[in-house]
């Protein structure tokens, strides 16, 4: 009788123990945290080792197999890309220069109703995927950019996050200056494509900031 009870208690535990599988995967290119975020699954237990750049997976054989396939898909070499930024200030001030009017598409100019387009600065930034690129632009503007490869390697598309911050200002009796954000957006850019990113006020269209962003993947 007691043997039968013992078997009844131990049998499910033994079955579960047989089902669970542990697998350690060493990553070659990506960080363990980024892959862990990707594999965020309630049933799969993941331990991260930054020291060995590895992930330890604990789950059923099917879950571990699926996770391994996902890791193999995303643990690819990080790509390098080059970005060309042309920073243009659009305004209707008669004294402003109009040296960047040819860079802005005519159809967009007809929509915007600005009369002057002055190029403030242009910059070329080159960096690795998932790394921050910082740009110091003319007129105390600061830019920060980061990209990721979004789609398959056959027709890659870059997901670019861009932030342009204005001149730091001291408001009131505040000790630290306040840096206003002029433009902050994420854009999907194809290899070799130029995207127009713009920012202005909602109603008072006195001036606007236009950034022509060209992305190019490097081999």
């Amino acid at each position: 009788m007691s043997k039968a009870i013992l078997i009844l208690i131990l049998a499910p535990a033994l079955l579960l123990a047989e089902e669970a599988q542990t697998k350690t995967v060493r990553l070659k290119h990506q960080s363990p945290e980024s892959i862990q975020r990707l594999l965020n699954n309630a049933r799969l237990r993941i331990s991260v080792s930054n020291e060995f750049n590895a992930l330890m997976l604990l789950g059923s054989p099917e879950e571990v197999k699926t996770a391994e396939a996902t890791i193999a898909q995303y643990d690819t070499p990080r790509r390098q890309a080059e970005f060309v930024l042309r920073v243009i200030e659009a305004s209707s001030l008669p004294q402003a220069t109009n040296d960047a009017a040819d860079l802005v598409p005519g159809e967009l100019k007809s929509l915007l109703r600005y009369s002057r387009y002055a190029q403030r600065d242009s910059a070329i930034a080159r960096g690795m995927e998932a790394e921050w690129l910082y740009l110091g632009l003319a007129g105390n503007l600061r830019g920060s950019l980061r990209f990721r490869i979004q789609s398959d390697p056959a027709s890659p598309q870059l997901s670019v996050f861009l932030r342009i911050q204005g001149k730091p200002q001291v408001l009131g009796d505040a000790k630290s200056p306040y840096t206003p954000t002029l433009l902050e957006t994420s854009a999907g850019v194809k290899d070799g494509e130029t995207v127009v990113l713009g920012a202005s006020k909602m109603q008072e269209n006195t001036a606007a900031l236009i950034v022509l962003l060209t992305a190019k993947l490097l081999p």
Binding site: A187, T194, K201
Partner: protein, 133 residues
């Protein structure tokens, strides 16, 4: 002394009065021995208690004397607060607080517009209430 005389001397018993006197003397001696230690024990118990009481009393008197502070031979004069040559306090003016431009509730602050021009150029335009170039 002949054998007969010695046997007679050894077998002779004292007189009854002599026996009674000896027994009374022995009883008195035993009673005296019995009562003497009791008296001695009672005396030795009281003596240390009395000595401790006397010592405690003496220590109390000494401590009471030692605690007392003898009066000073000379008393210093009482201190007085000097008047400092300072100007009268004035009410400070509170600094003006310039509030940061707070966004109005209920109004949209940011609008992101995605356009595709006829030549295929994609435009992302952000209308931001706090934009100031």
């Amino acid at each position: 002394m002949s054998q007969d005389e010695l046997r007679q001397l050894l077998s002779s018993l004292p007189e009854d009065a002599e026996l009674a006197a000896r027994a009374a003397r022995a009883r008195r001696g035993a009673l005296a021995r019995l009562e003497q230690p009791v008296r001695a024990r009672g005396g030795w118990l009281w003596a240390p208690a009395l000595a401790v009481f006397v010592l405690v009393l003496a220590a109390g008197v000494w401590a009471n004397r030692a605690r007392r502070v003898e009066p000073l031979l000379w008393s210093p004069p009482a201190p007085h607060i000097a008047v400092a040559p300072l100007p009268a306090p004035q009410r400070a003016t509170a600094p003006k607080r310039i509030p940061r431009p707070a966004p109005r509730a209920g109004k949209q602050e940011r609008l992101e517009l995605h356009l595709a021009l006829s030549d295929g150029t994609r435009v992302q335009w952000i209308f931001d209430k706090n934009f100031s170039l």
